[in-house]
């Protein structure tokens, strides 16, 4: 379990509102039983259409680690294949105007912070990245700022999620499993648990 207090790396701007998870990873690439190999397929159809001009193909952004997007990023399907594909391409954090809820939750569970900023600040950051693709920026979760060049913008993140990153508890699985006794107690108080058994196992 590792704490995530800040992410430092080069940034990559990706413009557009309502970029859904079908666009991040088209459904045909979900025909798999592991997440391995999804990095090469991220934004496959958008990239083909832009013929080398998609930011994920442009040479100046290769090796970038902080993805800067716009409104309602990751909407649609709950497929974790979408953030997995983005992460396997090399992204370690996202900054955007807003994120779809399931996408955000998937990123938390994977240890990838998604923070939000206002549209004017995002525009400034995206413009700066286009001009300075080779310079590292910092997402600081303690100060809730993105620092780039001599500038910075404020960002926000829900308290629960932020605490999970700062304290290194974003992978909740271990904590959840540790409560087995309490889980059984809660279950025993729910009337339907007795009558709605799916099988007699």
């Amino acid at each position: 379990m590792s704490q995530v207090k800040s992410v430092v790396g080069r940034g990559i701007p990706l413009m557009g509102n309502d970029i859904d998870t079908d666009r991040i990873i088209p459904a045909r690439f979900l025909r798999c039983v592991t997440f391995d190999g999804l990095g090469a397929q991220v934004f496959a159809d958008d990239r083909t259409q832009l013929n080398g001009q998609h930011p994920f193909d442009q040479p100046q952004y290769q090796g970038a680690e902080i993805l800067v997007v716009n409104r309602n990023f990751g909407c649609g399907s709950s497929r974790e294949h979408a953030p997995q594909a983005i992460a396997k391409w090399g992204i370690k954090a996202l900054v955007g105007e807003s994120f779809a809820e399931i996408f955000f939750g998937n990123c938390v569970a994977m240890g990838i912070p998604c923070v939000t900023a206002n549209p004017t600040d995002l525009q400034q950051l995206q413009d700066w990245l286009a001009a300075n693709p080779q310079t590292a920026i910092e997402l600081n979760l303690e100060t809730l700022q993105v620092n780039f060049g001599d500038a910075n913008i404020p960002v926000t993140m829900g308290g629960g999620a932020r605490n999970m990153f700062l304290s290194g508890t974003w992978d909740a699985c271990g904590q959840l499993v540790a409560q087995a006794e309490q889980i059984r107690q809660t279950a025993s108080k729910l009337p339907y648990v007795a009558w709605s058994r799916a099988s007699s196992v």
Binding site: G16, D18, D22, R23, P26, A27, R28, L30, R31, C32, V33, T34, F35, Q49, R71, N72, C75, G76, S77, S78, R79, E80, H81, P83, S98, A100, E101, I102, G105, N106, A109, M110, G159, G160, A161, N163, M164, S167, T169, D171, A172, C173, Q175, L176, V177, Q179, A180, Q182, I183, T186, L190, P191, Y192, A194, W195, S196, R197, A198, S199, V201
Partner: protein
């Protein structure tokens, strides 16, 4: 903060603990899994040496990848076959009930759980699929999760979650003929936007929803997620209880009476407090069609494609992208737009009543020349029931293909796909770029009856003219 709503009551009853992060550890009463988002979760369990804590509270089926024409094994697609084998092995090794093809119980996960009575009021339900919101029709708190969370539910039957706010969406009045549940939800998303529901659970209330059947309520709750809300629900009532009575997994005898009393107790209180309330009039809702690339880009079938100046500044950018992708001109009528493919099915509209509404339009008519039209029942049971009523024969006589149960062309992870720039009239839930299997394919969302109307005329048509 909301108080006394069904959401608050169910949340409190399922709270196991407060985690150090401040999030709630929530017990999940029913976990549904399918072949796409579960194999990696089982692999994660194995990597961590964890076991499935409550195998009897998870139910599996296959829907996304299954072909709807030839279902003989092994599948022609090696990768689909590998996914089938993975879920067969994982469910067997972990003693999880699995409804495989040919069992009589297979189908789209959000169709089979309700029809078997697995979905019940007052439950928390999770599934690695965003349309899990469907089950909210029963007064359950049901939402989609990712694969790491599927792992968490398998390992602990719980999830780490932050509580949502509750918005009451009230729709009152009687829907006009030719206006269906699908039109109601497309209208709501059009008005509140695709991000309007982020951070909220939607409580659908008012006389319009009270008058709806369970299948209609499922259509509405199914698309809560398209409006940004992770879950949506309708309070349980006599319609809910009548639907559940005598279903396979519904409580029986004395337990039935106890269940009804408990279900009534979790209903939102008359004086419940909401974080937000929005009210619509059913009389304002027309047959609705999407013209763009988000489910929020809907218009009445009698309207024209919106012009940029009629839209808010925030919506213009995505509209510009949509005009280009859809090749539709602002200001032109949507009615009369030529259609290549008609798809009736999906977790939104693949139930018996949907097929009946479509068959009513198709009956005695013929699919227009050059149009490919097909009907995909939501489950093996829906297929059997539809055939018992002769719906398959009505569709076949009209020139529609009649298929086997599955997700089919809603997301095109199987052989059912658009080709090139084909444009579809679809009873599914998403009109995203490339959604139906072609990177340049186009989708117009509408009710099943409207899809049938488009099939027999070859163009987007106001179904009211054919009723």
């Amino acid at each position: 903060m909301s108080k006394g709503t069904l959401f608050d009551k169910v949340w409190d009853l399922h709270t196991v603990s407060t985690l150090p992060s401040g999030q709630t550890q929530l017990f999940i009463g029913l976990h549904l899994i399918h072949e796409v988002t579960s194999p990696q979760a089982f692999a994660m369990l194995r990597d961590r040496g964890l076991k499935v804590l409550f195998p009897e509270r998870t139910v599996a089926t296959v829907d996304h990848i299954v072909p709807t024409d030839n279902q003989a094994r092994p599948f022609r697609d090696d990768m689909a076959e590998e996914m089938m084998r993975a879920i067969e092995e994982n469910t067997k090794a972990n003693q999880i009930t699995f409804y495989n093809i040919g069992s009589g119980n297979q189908g789209v996960v959000h169709v089979i759980a309700p029809e078997q009575g697995l979905t019940q009021p007052g439950m928390t339900i999770a599934c690695g699929d965003s349309h899990t919101s469907t089950h909210g029709a029963f007064g359950a708190i049901a939402f989609g999760i990712g694969t790491s969370q599927v792992r968490d539910v398998l390992a602990s039957q719980t999830l780490a979650l932050s509580k949502l706010k509750v918005r009451k969406i009230e729709v009152n009045g009687k829907l006009s003929p030719g206006v269906y549940a699908k039109d109601v939800i497309l209208h709501i998303i059009r008005k509140l936007g695709v991000t309007g529901g982020v951070g909220y659970a939607y409580e659908y209330a008012g006389s319009t929803f009270e008058q709806m059947s369970m299948e209609e309520r499922m259509t509405v709750c199914n698309m809560a997620i398209e409006g940004g809300a992770r879950c949506g629900y309708v309070n349980p009532d006599q319609v809910t209880f009548d639907y559940l009575k005598d279903r396979d997994f519904a409580p029986k005898g004395v337990e039935w009476d106890q269940a009804v009393a408990w279900w009534q107790s979790i209903h939102s209180d008359a004086d419940a407090e909401y974080d937000d309330v929005v009210v619509f009039d059913a009389a304002e809702i027309s047959p609705t069609v999407t013209w763009g690339i988000t489910p929020g880009q809907g218009i009445a079938v009698t309207e024209t494609v919106p012009t940029p100046d009629s839209l808010s500044a925030a919506d213009r950018e995505i509209a510009a992208e949509a005009y280009k992708y859809m090749d539709l001109q602002p200001g032109t009528p949507i009615q009369g737009t030529p259609i290549d493919v008609c798809f009736i099915g999906s977790c939104t509209n693949g139930r018996l009543s949907d097929l009946r509404e479509a068959a009513q339009v198709a009956k005695g008519r013929q699919v227009a020349a050059g149009v490919k039209a097909f009907v995909v029942p939501g489950s093996e049971r829906v297929k059997q029931e539809a055939e018992a009523e002769g719906l398959d024969k009505i569709f076949a006589a009209a020139g529609f293909e009649w298929r086997e149960a599955g997700c089919s062309m809603c997301l095109a992870m199987n052989p059912d796909k658009l080709q090139g720039r084909q444009i579809s009239a679809s009873s599914s839930n998403r009109n995203f770029k490339g959604r139906q299997g072609s990177a340049s394919g186009r989708t117009l969302l509408m009710s099943p009856a409207m899809v049938a109307a488009a099939a027999v005329t070859g163009t987007v048509t106001d179904v009211r003219e054919l009723l």
